[in-house]
């Protein structure tokens, strides 16, 4: 009996000791730690920064622990960790237009206003006004924009030539006519492709909407997705894909799927963000790399109005205990040198100086650089409704797009979407 009591006592003590020692493991994660935890999205920008990281680590003596995730996984990760108030993310790459307002409202993003003003050489004033507005919440800077995006027209030079078309279309009507002509001349090749997923398509549809003279919301904050212009835009975008798009088109396509159709040589025209151009011109990723051309977004009744937005920014987790070092990383990654290096590698930056510098566009295909330069003055600063719950809003305003693609009554769908969108906007007030 005694022996058994001893065994019980011993095993309990061992269990307790193990439990205690398990709690003591986190000591090197204290304030001002030398290890910086950086979470980035899968992007060409990230690949470039990763290559340059040793330079930062040597300069500062900090060790960067990098987590790299796809867009959706990144969002989920933030939702879980930031919701829990976890401090194990220091620097975070986020989408100002998608999650910026939500994160700032929830207090997830640290106030960087003072830090942005602390270093004149780094020059906060060099950043473009539009992107800066998108990373500012209630007069506080909460992020530094790193990548900008515009919508441009991707097209196949060889197919156009074969169909006897000498120049890329300048208007949306010309685009439709050219797409019809090319697909008629090349069986098995779609005239046009673009994103078709209800939420994925919203951003690329936005330039169509603006060029027809519409917008998601008017100056008074009222929903306007059933205005005559919006209805025309929905019908045009959906009709283009329904009539001249790939056969049996799925309504789930985001950019990877749409880009794949274009780079497999299965489509003549494609409207997409310029920041993805490497996917089309890199021979390792594209079968049509040497015949891709670029043109400014074709003009609609209201002119050519492509979106021009900051797609990604860097922020600091408000719960991080390593905020000063986190800022050091941001300062380095967004410096003129790094921005220029990244822009040369194909990622459009947010600094005015890199666009003014001829070296900044030297590596771009000439027609792409021209297209970007041509559409910058008329660019619209948002590519989705500017609200807190962007994901929900995108689903509402995206419904008429998929309805138009599948041949349903797009006008009725736009009316229904407008009512739902107005209710949504009212609920956010």
């Amino acid at each position: 009996m005694l022996r058994r009591q001893f065994v019980i006592g011993t095993s309990l003590a061992v269990a307790a000791a193990l439990g205690l020692s398990a709690c003591g493991g986190g000591e090197d994660q204290e304030a001002g730690s030398k290890t910086l935890r950086v979470t980035l999205a899968n992007h060409v920008w990230t690949d470039n920064i990763k290559k340059a990281l040793p330079e930062f680590e040597n300069q500062t003596g900090l060790k960067v622990e990098l987590t790299q995730l796809g867009e959706d996984q990144l969002s989920d990760q933030y939702n879980v960790k930031l919701n829990a108030g976890s401090g194990d993310i220091d620097v975070m790459m986020y989408r100002p237009l998608q999650e910026g307002k939500l994160f700032a409202k929830n207090g997830y993003l640290a106030d960087l206003t003072a830090k942005t003003k602390s270093n004149a050489d780094w020059a906060w004033s060099d950043f473009q006004a539009g992107p800066v507005a998108a990373t500012t919440y209630k007069d506080k800077v909460v992020g530094v924009p790193i990548i900008t995006e515009q919508e441009v027209l991707y097209y196949r030079k060889d197919l156009l030539q074969k169909a006897g078309i000498t120049a890329p279309p300048k208007t949306l009507d010309e685009l439709k006519a050219a797409a019809a002509k090319v697909s008629a001349a090349n069986p098995g090749v779609a005239g046009f492709v673009a994103r078709t997923g209800k939420t994925a398509a919203v951003t690329q549809f936005s330039s169509f909407l603006y060029s027809f003279g519409g917008d998601f919301v008017d100056a008074n904050g009222k929903a306007t997705v059933n205005s005559p212009a919006a209805k025309q835009a929905y019908a045009f975008y959906g009709g283009l894909i329904k009539d001249l798009g790939p056969k049996n088109v799925s309504t789930d396509m985001g950019w990877p799927e749409a880009m794949a159709i274009f780079t497999q040589g299965k489509a003549a025209f494609y409207t997409e963000a310029d920041s993805l151009y490497k996917n089309a011109t890199d021979p390792a990723k594209s079968k049509v790399a040497d015949s891709v051309g670029f043109a400014p977004f074709p003009a609609g009744p209201a002119g050519s109005k492509a979106y021009n937005v900051p797609s990604w920014a860097l922020g600091v987790n408000a719960a991080s205990e390593n905020q000063d070092n986190a800022w050091k990383f941001i300062e380095w990654a967004t410096s003129k040198t790094q921005t220029l290096a990244n822009q040369k590698a194909g990622v459009p930056g947010a600094r005015t100086s890199v666009w003014a510098d001829p070296a900044g566009t030297s590596t771009y295909p000439k027609d792409l650089a021209d297209a970007i330069a041509a559409s910058t003055p008329t660019g619209v600063g948002h590519d989705r409704p500017l609200v807190v719950k962007v994901a929900a809003a995108r689903e509402i305003v995206g419904q008429p797009i998929v309805d138009a693609i599948t041949g349903k009554d797009a006008a009725a769908s736009a009316d229904a979407a407008n009512t739902a969108f107005q209710t949504f906007l009212d609920s956010e007030k």
Binding site: Q5, N83, L102, T251, I261
Partner: protein, 313 residues
């Protein structure tokens, strides 16, 4: 008080110096002490999350769970249960998916198990081949079938083309998406049903079957009146395990159709819906409500099945 007692009361857990008092206490309560780690584990990882979800379902939590939220009673339940645009269609899809795959998987699983029951040549190889889908990761399976079912470049339509059948929309079609995902689920999970039923078949005793054979019973009669009744408890176990799993299916649906179960919510089941509510919309209150209702549905169907199993046994 002896010297050793003083010392050990300062460090009560030091094993070599454990006092008789402590040891006696530990011995008297050992059923609790030994169960304590497991109980703590269950409390932390199961009871707490469920309780927290119940609490959230009674509040208007949104945006961030750390943000202020207030108790609103059963308001969310009223909202959810009267929602005929997303919630009820999702319930119907969940039941359609589960019911559909269960019927096919059990019937097909039984047929395959009967075929594999008696020894034959290359038996091992056939068994391994049949079990292969089971070991593949669901997301990889989803991606693979997504490519096969691609309406333009997929293998499925190419094969149909050889027989002169026109291309089908498969996952891309508003009506055909759910049946297509069911097909994928059947492909992946029928082997598990086979495995369970085969185990049941192998443990059947031969006497009743031999007796029936001597009495001149045909193959169907033997199956219908002898094998099936004897196998009923095993069949119910298979239905129970697969049913709960099928109700909770998420990976295949999300990997093939993405957020919201596609642009028209074609394959949005309760699980996919609840995921979207919390991760896309940040509606934690409503999302928790859906999850609690979902939980009750699963517990309810489990209860019905286990009581049937008792009857069958």
């Amino acid at each position: 008080m002896s010297a050793s007692t003083i010392e050990s009361s300062a460090r009560p857990l030091a094993p070599a110096r454990a006092t008789p008092t402590w040891s006696r206490w530990a011995n008297d309560h050992r059923k609790w002490l030994f169960a304590a780690p497991a109980m703590a584990f269950v409390a932390v990882l199961i009871v707490f999350p469920v309780a927290w979800t119940v609490w959230l379902s009674l509040t208007d939590a949104e945006g961030s769970v750390r943000a202020e939220h207030s108790f609103i009673g059963l308001g969310n339940y009223l909202t959810v249960l009267t929602d005929t645009t997303r919630f009820w269609p999702a319930v119907l899809r969940t039941l359609e998916f589960t019911g559909g795959v269960l019927v096919v998987e059990v019937v097909l699983g039984m047929a395959i198990a009967l075929l594999l029951w008696r020894p034959f040549r290359c038996e091992k190889w056939v068994r391994v081949a049949i079990l292969l889908p089971l070991v593949a990761t669901p997301v990889a399976v989803g991606m693979m079938w997504r490519l096969i079912f691609d309406p333009n470049i997929g293998l499925a339509n190419t094969v149909l083309g050889w027989f002169g059948i026109g291309p089908q929309p498969w996952l891309a079609g508003e009506q055909s998406a759910l049946p297509t995902t069911m097909l994928i689920d059947i492909w992946q999970w029928t082997p598990m049903v086979v495995l369970i039923l085969l185990a049941g078949l192998t443990s059947l005793s031969d006497e009743p079957l031999e007796a029936a054979l001597i009495d001149g019973a045909g193959a169907w009669q033997r199956f219908r009146h002898i094998i099936l009744p004897l196998m009923m408890p095993t069949v119910i176990v298979a239905i129970l395990l697969r049913g709960i799993d099928a109700l909770k299916t998420f990976d295949i649906l999300y990997a093939t159709k993405g957020k919201g179960g596609g642009s028209f919510h074609e394959v949005e089941t309760l699980n996919v819906y609840a995921y979207g509510l919390s991760f896309d919309y940040n509606e934690y209150g409503i999302s928790s409500t859906v999850l609690i209702i979902f939980f009750l549905i699963i517990v309810g169907s489990m209860w019905v099945l286990t009581s049937r199993k008792k009857e069958a046994a």
